[in-house]
């Protein structure tokens, strides 16, 4: 049984377990820290930087920082929210995200966070980079236009599915998800039951022919903002 410690987030005292990561401790205490690359069940990754908080005056990612006794954490400050907005806006302009017809709309974490942060339009110019759709697999599709390079599929396939279907290739603005077959997705051993398919926070990795089956009004974030499941675990969202 790990020992209990106490820390402070935005002036509120919370209790945490020794060895816990800060984001998990905040979740348990009902404090939402925005995140995209972090997913329960996967090892901490710290790539999207959306969960950046200020701990004892120093910026660090909440998903890779273990808790310590008497930590003083800033989370929902104006500065940090502006910082997060900037990250999300850069993701929107780097990819080709057309929420108005995307089948992940309403269930998309990127869209959900943008709404929660009050983003109406990105302040940066769109890059309009030409990106591919790999529809070669009979049941699964990768739309690179929407990929935010969070590596959740990479890690889930490797660590939970035991396959290592996905990984990154190239660098910088050419970095992209690739698959372990020269015959594209069709040549891999990815399967429609793989957990990796459910790990994608956006509409990049999809099961084919399933789009739009949930009516508008009944989708995950139609009625309550993303993070509500953490802040009020009794809601319908608490399973996600």
């Amino acid at each position: 049984m790990p020992g209990k410690i106490t820390l402070e987030i935005d002036g509120v005292q919370i209790e945490a377990d020794q060895g816990q990561y800060l984001i998990d401790a905040a979740d348990n205490a009902g404090v939402y820290i925005p995140r995209l690359c972090h997913k329960p069940g996967l090892e901490p990754y710290g790539s999207c930087r959306l969960c950046t908080v200020v701990v004892n005056g120093r910026h660090c990612s909440a998903c890779t920082t273990p808790v310590a006794n008497n930590m003083v954490v800033e989370n929902a400050t104006e500065n940090l929210q502006d910082f997060r907005k900037m990250i999300v806006e850069m993701l929107f302009v780097e990819g080709n995200h057309f929420c108005m017809f995307c089948e992940k709309s309403g269930n998309c974490e990127l869209q959900g966070i943008a709404y929660r942060l009050g983003i109406t339009a990105p302040q940066f110019p769109y890059l309009w980079t030409k990106k591919e759709v790999d529809a070669s697999h009979p049941d699964i599709l990768i739309d690179h236009n929407r990929c935010i390079l969070c590596a959740r599929c990479v890690r889930t396939s490797k660590d939970l599915d035991g396959k290592h279907v996905f990984d990154f290739t190239e660098r910088g603005d050419k970095k992209k998800i690739s698959v372990n077959s020269s015959a594209r997705l069709a040549g891999t051993d990815v399967d429609i039951t793989d957990q990796a398919l459910d790990s994608c926070p956006v509409g990049a990795l999809l099961r084919k022919r399933e789009g739009y089956q949930v009516p508008v009004g009944q989708r995950l974030y139609d009625l309550k903002p993303i993070g509500t499941n953490i802040e009020s675990p009794s809601t319908d969202n608490d399973k996600k």
């Binding site: 022919r209 789009g211 739009y212």
Partner: protein, 484 residues
């Protein structure tokens, strides 16, 4: 905008944009040295490009992405694409709840779109006159002078939008229709909310019909000549000859009402219809193949549907149709201004259909999706508010769209609108030394009767200036007016 003169002895008038229509268009009128109209054309100046940029997208996106063509009647594109994609998944034989829910959405759409056009776009011309002061001749003027009527128009459109929301999830750009069916049924609560207002809507629809009918009858001298010409008419038609806005075979009639073709399987539309391209418009010119480009053009929309159908299967709209047909002794009605009357007959028909469907327990059914053998091609045809709409897709083995062809309703009316513009220009502008705002509005009224959807909404003169320039034979500007 001033276009260049290729002939030094002619001069050109440009009306840009045409106002109180959906989208962006302009009219050019070419005058000879005696100020007689030589040529008048309606140009569609937008390029949308949907047929190209959806290539490579997965086919199940089509009903949701292609509806973004329009913000006024997106349901028509949503359902027409869904009908085409149904065939890709082998689900074209919808379950009764799914087909009835789609019909309900479609009648809601027709009701709101027709109401919007009649009250917001057309009524200022009909209530105040074509030559009235433009500062009054708009929806704000209608609201000031006829507040009850303006309120009815707004609430009728709202009701149609509520029907759409209840069936598609949103008032604009919903997702209700999915390949092979629907993603939701109509709850008892949603049904009861709509039923609360239904009788009021029926009553107001009668009122609107009476305004359109009485206007036409009281101005028959004007209507007989105003942009009027004989033409072929086309629509889809139910197997028994009834008007059907959602499904049926293709029927075309000539100017005397003789059938050119009838109950043609709409999957074979390319056997009977082709499109001609002209170098001065982004809009194609469809024509009936068996007649050819010269005389094979046809009209679509409310006037054509009332002309082509044998009857309407709702009693009050059928009574209105009979009254309408009596005017021409049962022959096709070719009056451009009669589009308004026909449109309001369809408003009444739509609200009758909505009422009928709301009492059908199938709408609470749960068997909403059907699928069968996968195919690589699908064709959807539907009667959009503005006329017959075609969506045609081909997909590859990876489920990506490789070809898309859309024939939108306004395209089919392209030749007719150009003829209407030409005739009104000849009748009202020819030989006039000076341009007046009222004269120009006559040209716009002729276009407006067809309720053209040139893409999105641009019916606010305050935001979109109308600029008309008159040049002399040397190309010098001799008169110019700008409406803000």
């Amino acid at each position: 905008m001033v276009a260049s003169n290729t002939n030094p002895k002619s001069k050109r008038i440009v009306i840009q944009p045409v106002t109180r229509v959906e989208g962006h268009g302009k009219v050019t009128i070419l005058l000879d040295e005696n100020n007689k109209v030589k040529q008048a054309r309606l140009h569609i100046v937008e390029f949308r490009g949907f047929e190209r940029f959806i290539q490579g997208r997965p086919f199940w996106e089509m009903p949701v992405v292609v509806q973004r063509l329009c913000g006024i009647c997106p349901v028509s594109h949503h359902l027409c694409a869904a009908k085409a994609i149904d065939q890709i998944v082998g689900g074209e034989n919808l379950t009764p709840p799914a087909e009835k829910l789609r019909r309900l959405m479609h009648y809601g759409q027709t009701f709101q779109s027709h109401s919007l056009h009649f009250f917001h776009l057309a009524s200022p011309d009909l209530l105040f006159g074509f030559n009235a002061d433009p500062s009054i001749r708009n929806i704000i003027g209608v609201a000031a002078e006829y507040p009850e009527l303006a309120k009815q128009g707004i609430l009728m459109r709202k009701f149609g939008q509520e029907v759409i929301k209840a069936t598609s999830g949103k008032k604009i750009h919903g997702t209700g229709a999915i390949p092979g069916g629907m993603n939701k049924n109509l709850s008892i609560h949603e049904r009861d909310e709509l039923l609360k207002d239904i009788d009021q809507m029926v009553q107001w629809s009668h009122g609107a019909l009476n305004i359109a009918k009485n206007y036409t009858l009281e101005h028959m001298d004007t209507a007989l000549e105003f942009g009027t010409f004989e033409s072929n008419h086309m629509s889809i038609i139910r197997e028994d000859g009834a008007m059907d806005l959602y499904n049926g075979g293709l029927r075309a009639i000539d100017k005397d009402g003789n059938k050119i073709f009838d109950h043609v399987d709409n999957q074979k539309y390319t056997d009977i219809i082709a499109e001609e391209v002209k170098n001065w418009s982004y809009m194609k010119f469809p024509f009936i193949k068996s007649i050819g480009t010269e005389n094979g053009w046809y009209r679509v929309g409310p006037l054509s549907r009332v002309n082509t159908c044998d009857f309407i299967d709702t009693p009050e709209a059928e009574a209105a149709r009979i009254e309408f047909k009596d005017i021409t002794g049962g022959k096709p009605n070719h009056l451009t201004l009669a589009y308004h009357w026909a449109r309001m007959i369809e408003v009444l028909h739509s609200i009758e259909k909505i009422k009928e469907l709301l009492h059908d327990p199938d709408l609470q059914g749960k068997d909403l999706v059907t699928k069968g053998d996968r195919r690589d091609e699908g064709i959807g045809v539907i009667e959009a508010p503005r006329g017959t709409l075609f969506h045609h897709y081909k997909v590859n083995k990876d489920d990506q769209v490789t070809m898309c062809n859309l024939i939108v309703s306004t395209t089919s009316n392209n030749e007719a609108m150009n003829r209407a513009v030409q005739k009104v220009a000849e009748d009202h502008l020819s030989g006039q030394p000076e341009i007046t705002e009222g004269m120009l509005n006559h040209v716009e009224v002729a276009t407006r009767a067809y309720d053209p959807c040139l893409s999105c909404a641009t019916h606010d003169m305050a935001q979109m200036p109308l600029k008309v320039t008159l040049l002399n034979v040397d190309g010098q500007v001799i008169d110019e007016r700008i409406k803000q």
